[in-house]
């Protein structure tokens, strides 16, 4: 037999000034299952809560309804109250008599009648509430960070610094990512390597960080607190436990003319190589595709010269299984292929390059030793045209979004050019100059005012060679005239795009991505570093274009989320999850595609039908993943997925009670 207690709060005069609270309490007394009803001036006050606790004990209540302010305000408070009196906290319902009633309606009978209806609905619902218990999931206090760029490094460091084991997985032979390729950073013009390399070293030396470079995440299973991750460690053909990184092998390697990926093919590397001198770990790998030993079977020079015998041509890929409680995804970005804009001649004219090429050209450890020269003839360029928005903000040929960093790095390039090449003249074709950031507008101003960069608002229609120059033809839309500039070098600010394999990564880890294949945050405002998959967080440009400070901030935010998760031994789960009644579930799995959290999976159950044991498929909800949205319940034709706390019966009872 239900024994429901109803408490109507005056909220001072907030409710009582409009609603006849005594009448509401009186009406409640005759509602089905109600054995006790009263009103009180401030239910949320200490004596108010005490009154509820007393009533629960004295009246042996099995359910409590509080008619008060919005449940979004005090539901948690009252749950604790109820719980401290020995009642399950979920045997409580709050009727919203303030925000939904007394504050929006005049003092009249209809308002009191509505209050009674709302209480009746809450009573009808609570009569069908079941005790719910928070589940507890043990949390594996080890984090996985995918991607060893600045975002991944920062996140790994922050988590490790908080005392938790962290595994940092990087696909390339060295961590460092895109930032390692940059020369200076805007708007301070401090040297990228100078601020990055110490962090690279820190993370590699940190006793809580396990660095897995030249490795890729293959498979992720499990759920928050309990992921099982398979990582493939690609064969480096160098035993890094023996290698000291002396570099002799690289000196001796006969295959020296391989275009360096790190140098954007502006420089060369050997077949046994490290991507760049400050690489971490500073140990080489063998590029099997170009290695003579692998191609011809003859060579073995590196093995011959290695003083430690670290070269191992027989090495195989290895699979490592990791158990982690949280994952930070920081897989970075690719750049748009500017050859798709054939009017700019990229790929046809060697002196049309991208911004990242420019970074390498201006970098003192780059292929030209920091001398800005034309790739074609190694002459120093004077007139350099920078073209903005190559691919960005162009729905017809490129991508719809703004790549966010190009305006600033182009201003930086203009300044670097002017600094490095006396008498050089930077021209910038732009659509809009976007400088939202601390010190950014000032930096852009310096480029124009101090360093004499000429900014031309307009698109370039054609770049073509004339003699050894490149004619850049475009329109100055402010003057309304065509312009033509004879340039020595053209630099394209090509768009930031998602990694070519981003969708695969998202699918393998199990979260969603947008139309551009950037990873989707759980909420654009309120959960910008979370994904829809609990326990998986995002950092850096894999989530969308952003600059270094934003990337670092997001990485730290993701780390903070991980650390918060790890701060408890067990994670309390939301008990209001979906639940399948396997007896009636037909296993059609039409609920599966509507679940945003991939919490529903088919499961095989054993059953006895007509005396025979059979096994069949039903849907099953992983309570660790389920967030309790209930979308599955409406997709289920049989009605056999229900949402605890918002069951079909509860909602139907509310509907009926409101319509009496």
């Amino acid at each position: 037999m239900k024994r429901i207690g109803v408490f109507i709060c005056w909220c001072g005069s907030n409710i009582a000034g409009t609603v006849d609270v005594e009448k509401v309490a009186e009406a409640a007394r005759s509602m089905p299952g109600v054995v006790y009803a009263t009103d009180y001036k401030y239910t949320c006050s200490e004596p108010g809560q005490q009154m509820i606790k007393d009533a629960i004990r004295e009246q042996h209540l099995t359910g409590v309804v509080i008619g008060s302010c919005s449940p979004r305000m005090h539901e948690k408070t009252f749950r604790k109250t109820v719980e401290s009196a020995g009642l399950n906290p979920y045997l409580l319902e709050v009727a919203n008599l303030r925000e939904h009633c007394s504050w929006v309606h005049p003092r009249e009978e209809a308002t009191t009648r509505k209050a009674i209806d709302l209480v009746r609905a809450a009573v009808a619902k609570v009569a069908r509430n079941h005790p719910l218990h928070q589940g507890h999931i043990p949390v594996e206090k080890r984090a996985l960070v995918i991607g060893g760029g600045i975002a991944g490094i920062q996140a790994a460091l922050d988590i490790a610094e908080s005392g938790y084991e962290t595994v940092l997985v990087e696909r390339e032979p060295s961590i460092g990512g895109r930032m390692a390729q940059l020369d200076k950073t805007f708007p301070t013009l401090d040297c990228s390597a100078c601020i990055l390399t110490p962090k690279m070293v820190d993370v590699s030396r940190h006793d809580k960080v396990t660095l897995l470079t030249y490795s890729e995440v293959e498979k992720v299973e499990g759920y928050i607190g309990n992921f099982t991750v398979t990582v493939r460690r690609k064969a480096a053909y160098v035993d890094h436990s023996k290698c000291t990184g002396c570099g002799l092998c690289m000196e001796k390697c006969p295959a020296k003319k391989i275009p360096s990926e790190f140098e954007m093919s502006l420089g060369r590397r050997t077949a046994i190589y490290r991507p760049f001198p400050q690489a971490v770990p500073n140990k080489p790998v063998i590029d099997r595709e170009h290695c003579l030993k692998f191609k011809t079977g003859k060579c073995g020079v590196c093995a011959h010269f290695c003083p430690r015998g670290a070269i191992d041509y027989e090495q195989q890929d290895q699979r490592v299984t990791l158990h982690v409680g949280a994952i930070v995804v920081a897989t970075g970005y690719d750049l748009f292929d500017p050859a798709l804009y054939s009017e700019y001649g990229y790929g046809r004219y060697p002196d049309v390059i991208t911004g990242l090429h420019f970074e390498r050209l201006v970098n003192s450890s780059g292929p030209t030793g920091g001398h800005i020269v034309r790739p074609s003839d190694h002459k120093e360029p004077k007139n350099v045209v920078f073209i903005q928005c190559v691919g960005s903000r162009d729905e017809a040929k490129g991508v719809s979004y703004c790549s966010k960093i190009c305006c600033m790095y182009t201003a930086k390039h203009a300044i670097l050019l002017a600094e490095h090449v006396p008498g050089a003249h930077p021209y910038v074709f732009y659509m809009d100059v976007r400088t939202a950031g601390k010190g950014y507008e000032e930096f852009y101003k310096r480029a124009t005012e101090e360093f004499g960069a000429t900014y031309i608002r307009g698109r370039v229609s054609k770049v073509y060679p004339r003699g050894d120059k490149l004619v850049v033809r475009g329109e100055d839309t402010l003057l309304g005239k065509p312009v033509e500039i004879e340039a020595d070098l053209v630099v394209l600010a090509n768009a930031v795009v998602a990694r070519h394999d981003a969708a695969e990564v998202a699918r393998s880890v199990g979260f969603s991505y947008d139309g551009h294949h950037f990873f989707t945050e759980a909420h654009p405002k309120l959960a910008p570093v979370e994904t829809n998959t609990a326990g998986v967080f995002l950092a850096g440009v894999c989530q969308g274009p952003k600059d270094i400070p934003e990337t670092v901030a997001q990485a730290s935010a993701a780390a903070a989320k991980v650390v918060a998760l790890f701060s408890k031994d067990q994670m309390a789960t939301n008990p209001m999850t979906a639940q399948v009644d396997p007896a009636c579930c037909a296993g059609c799995m039409l609920c599966e595609p509507v679940c945003p959290y991939h919490a529903i999976r088919p499961e095989t159950i054993q059953e006895r039908v007509g005396g025979k044991a059979i096994s069949r498929q039903v849907a099953s909800v992983n309570e660790g993943l389920c967030q309790g949205c209930g979308a599955c319940t409406a997709a289920c034709r049989t009605g056999c997925i229900d949402l605890k706390g918002y069951t079909h019966q509860q909602i139907l009872a509310e509907v009926e009670a409101l319509c009496l």
Binding site: S30, M31, P32, R120, A583, V609, G610, E656, A657
Partner: protein, 367 residues
């Protein structure tokens, strides 16, 4: 000595329509293409020439949904008020001998020591006027189960259509083209009970005495109809044989085709299984009786989830054993009146005649 009367169709119509002034008269009629026994009212055509209604006469006494009582919780007390249906005198006109027999069978179920008062009250208040059946359907087999299509002993009054040649001109001399089709039809009418007799006496304005030869003419027709046999079944020993065939593979084979719907039970004039359920709104509600069907999966489903008749096999076995065995054991007659409704309506052509055939050793095949 039975007194015979004759009435033509227009007069009969006038009589019945006149009766509706003071009581309800249920007649076979179609609404939206569905044949049933409907209260006669202006604009409703009596289905003189129509088929036996899809919905049998049982609904007039045992409605599909039938409120029992109302309950209300007031000040901690539960008040129960019976639903006092004012049972009014009424005439059920135009039922055929098969449906009339079904009422006799239902009387056994709803009578006896545990009588259903609502059913009984409705029965008592209803005068039955039966038609001798001159419209057998290809699916009819009433004679095989012992129903004589020409007469319904359960009825208060019988109407029998007279063969055309035995109808001397009666009444007005209207030109044939001015008449309603069928208005030339005449019926031989006689009472079978005292109550029927009184009813006929109240309708003397419309009735004429049967003339010489008309009774004989009807008797001759009736004798011919008694051998019509659209569908003939041999019921001999069926009940006893079924006693041995509870575990027969026949049930599994038959049930393969069954869809588990309730058509056969709902159109059956003798099926009488019902459920009792509540309809509740807040502090008050209604308890009602409603038709149920043994072919429904949830008919025997228990609260704990166990179902003693878990598959279609057990369910159709129950249905046919009930009709042909259990009912016979309990009430001494098969619970089938041969109306053929299930034969005609089953979407997959699975019906009682096939069961009877198989029990009698017939193969699966056609008749």
């Amino acid at each position: 000595m039975t007194q015979y009367w004759v009435i033509d169709r227009p007069r009969a119509e006038a009589w019945l329509r006149g009766l509706t002034q003071k009581q309800e008269v249920l007649v076979p009629a179609a609404r939206s293409g569905v044949w049933a026994f409907l209260p006669l009212e202006a604009g409703l055509a009596i289905g003189w020439d129509g088929a036996n209604p899809l919905l049998p006469a049982k609904g007039a006494f045992f409605p599909q949904t039938d409120p029992l009582f109302r309950f209300r919780r007031e000040e901690g007390k539960l008040n129960i008020e019976p639903v006092a249906e004012a049972v009014r005198e009424r005439v059920l006109f135009g039922i055929r001998p098969c449906d009339a027999r079904s009422l006799a069978l239902l009387d056994k179920v709803f009578g006896g020591p545990f009588a259903d008062s609502q059913y009984q009250a409705r029965r008592a208040a209803t005068l039955l006027v039966a038609w001798a059946c001159d419209h057998p359907r290809p699916t009819c087999f009433c004679q095989s189960v012992g129903v004589d299509p020409t007469t319904a002993p359960e009825a208060d009054v019988m109407f029998a259509p007279l063969p055309r040649e035995s109808r001397p001109a009666q009444g007005s001399e209207q030109a044939p083209h001015q008449r309603e089709p069928g208005s030339e039809m005449q019926y031989l009418v006689w009472a079978q009970t005292q109550r029927g007799q009184s009813w006929l006496e109240s309708g003397m304005d419309y009735l004429a005495r049967a003339q010489a030869g008309q009774v004989e003419a009807w008797q001759e027709t009736a004798a011919g109809m008694a051998n019509a046999h659209p569908l003939e079944l041999d019921m001999e020993g069926v009940t006893d044989r079924l006693r041995q065939r509870f575990d027969d593979s026949m049930w599994e084979e038959l049930s393969a085709r069954c869809l588990g719907c309730g058509i056969c039970t709902f159109v059956c004039p003798t099926c009488h299984c019902f459920d009792i359920a509540d309809w509740q709104r807040g502090q008050e509600g209604l308890r009602f009786k409603c038709w149920d069907s043994c072919s429904f999966r949830d008919f025997t489903l228990m609260a704990g989830g166990h179902n003693p008749r878990p598959t279609k096999k057990e369910r159709i076995r129950q249905r046919f054993l009930h009709k042909l065995l259990y009912f016979v054991d309990r009430y001494g007659a098969v619970a089938c009146v041969g109306c053929g409704r299930c034969v005609e309506q089953c979407p997959v052509h699975l019906d009682i005649t096939e069961v009877i055939l198989r029990v009698k050793g017939g193969e699966w095949a056609n008749v």
